[in-house]
């Protein structure tokens, strides 16, 4: 009789253990999703800021048409892959960062532009948005690392395998120039 109770107790304990582990995995997967959504918010913010910036710079530097076109093109290229996975997006966004870097480098040559309040405000917004993009990417990658560790390490990998949890994809920078981000601070 006693043996039966002990076995029953062990089964219940194991069950509770499995439930806790499963819930932990679900929680982490949701955190990954949430972190990804954060990156998305910031990338959208950057798309929204760009037309304004281009207009402001155009007013002072009409002859730099190529630079403007590059930025506009990179922006629409990035917007086209909005619903794809991290790898494709990272590449497109890297291209956009690069084009923006060039635009700010060009702006450097126009003192009137650099004194423009509107431009300065836009510049601060874009600098901050770039920071937010990299911070949210940093947080996303940390969360993915934790999630992937849980899905691959014993004993939670058993649950992950049974419940079909797949390792999440890192948001990695693929464009070489993005690894040394262009300096967009003119202070």
């Amino acid at each position: 009789m006693l043996a039966l109770w002990i076995i029953l107790g062990i089964i219940v304990l194991l069950l509770l253990f499995f439930i806790a582990m499963y819930n932990g995995l679900v929680g982490l997967r949701n955190q990954v999703k949430n972190a990804w959504a954060q990156i998305d918010v910031q990338l959208k913010r950057r798309y929204d800021l760009i037309p304004n910036l281009v207009e402001t710079v155009k007013g002072y530097a009409k002859h730099e048409r190529e630079v403007f076109e590059n930025v506009t093109q990179a922006r629409s290229a990035a917007q086209q892959v909005v619903s794809s996975g991290p790898a494709a997006r990272a590449q497109a966004e890297g291209g956009l960062s690069q084009a923006l870097g060039r635009l700010f480098a060009v702006a450097e040559a126009y003192p009137d532009l650099k004194a423009n309040q509107n431009f300065l405000a836009l510049q601060e917004e874009l600098t901050s948005t770039e920071n937010k993009i990299s911070f949210s990417r940093q947080f996303y990658n940390d969360t993915v690392l934790r999630f992937n560790n849980q899905t691959q390490m014993f004993p939670s990998n058993i649950i992950a395998g049974m419940a079909g949890f797949k390792a999440a994809e890192f948001f990695e920078v693929t464009v070489p120039e993005e690894k040394n981000p262009p300096k967009v601070s003119f202070t």
């Binding site: 910031q42 901050s128 920071n131 937010k132 911070f135 947080f139 940390d142 601070s185």
Partner: protein, 329 residues
């Protein structure tokens, strides 16, 4: 890497329980001495503690912000400060961006409050805001958000309330004992003899030592949390130099924060009283600035493990970051 909170909770529980025992011991002595029943003393201690806790819990933020004369700002008031706070909130994964306050004070300091990450506040003096560049501001704000993320505000206010209750109770009890001469003399069973006298002296010793002891625990905890918030700052910004150079600027200034007092001191980024008050390292709420800068500059990377290593260099290999935080990073 993000799991430090769990082990913090255990450590905090130990600290709070220990201070709670001290508080109960004081209640016990007071009860025995004045009321002839320890239960009455325990009740007094409990009531004092409960009232102070309630005030701290519901009014703590507004008292701290009110006393320091802080003014809430919106994005248009100072876009850079606002953006920096947003950036670090994202980096730390805070669920909600904290309210941002500016204190009109030439002194250089900053603090954070809020008992849980959903309802937090960061504040900075206008003096500091003027002195720092963007990277340094990021380091300072990351330190403050580190406090919020590590739940230091909650821990430090709970222990500050305990400390306050202990200090108040033992202060009044010892004064009344000295001035009133004690009501013990007219007790029926005053012929208890030597054993009772010894107990009385022990009680008195406890009343005198408990506040000192509680204060030392409190200060040691506060310093530990400062180191940990520095480590969090390096982790969030991935740039320890920002905070290091900000701390150097803070250290070079000797202006005191006008509205600070002993109770609110641990909330600030550096000791708001300046150098004069920090007579000894272990009598201070904050570790020495030079030491904090040295650790940040000695970091090989930006993780908690790197901070741990740098800290160990000058502390005989001792640790500061909780084990669970290290294993996850």
């Amino acid at each position: 890497m993000w799991e430090q909170i769990k082990s913090n909770r255990f450590r905090s529980a130990v600290l709070v329980v220990f201070m709670g025992i001290l508080l109960l011991a004081i209640g016990f002595v007071i009860g025995e001495y004045f009321l002839r029943s320890y239960l009455g003393g325990l009740a007094i201690a409990g009531v004092v503690w409960a009232i102070m806790s309630l005030i701290a819990f519901f009014q703590g933020d507004s008292i701290l912000l009110g006393v320091s004369g802080a003014r809430k700002i919106s994005k248009s008031d100072n876009p850079v400060l606002f953006n920096v706070v947003e950036e670090i909130s994202i980096a730390s994964g805070l669920p909600k961006i904290p309210d941002v306050y500016i204190i009109n004070d030439p002194a250089l300091n900053a603090f954070s409050t809020g008992r849980d990450p959903n309802k937090a506040t960061v504040a900075i003096t206008s003096g500091l805001l003027e002195k720092l560049n963007r990277d340094e501001l990021q380091g300072v704000m990351a330190h403050e958000i580190g406090h919020i993320k590590n739940r230091d505000v909650l821990l430090m206010s709970i222990s500050a309330v305990m400390l306050g209750a202990i200090v108040i109770l033992s202060w009044y009890a010892t004064r009344v004992m000295f001035w009133g001469g004690g009501r013990r003399s007219d007790r029926r069973d005053s012929g208890g003899g030597g054993a009772q006298a010894i107990l009385m002296i022990l009680g008195l010793v406890l009343l005198i030592l408990a506040p000192i002891f509680a204060q030392l625990i409190y200060l040691a905890t506060s310093r530990k949390r400062e180191y940990l918030a520095d480590a969090s700052s390096a982790l969030y910004t991935r740039y320890p130099e920002g905070l290091a150079s900000a701390l150097e600027k803070l250290g070079a200034s000797s202006v005191q924060v006008k509205a600070a007092n002993q109770a609110t001191a641990p909330m600030y980024i550096i000791n708001p009283f300046g150098k004069k008050r920090a007579i000894n390292d272990w009598m201070s709420t904050h570790p020495p600035i030079a030491e904090r800068v040295r650790i940040l500059r000695a970091m090989g990377g930006n993780s908690y493990a790197d901070y741990e290593k740098a800290y160990g260099l000058s502390h005989k290999g001792q640790g500061i970051v909780p084990k669970s935080a290290l294993s996850n990073g």
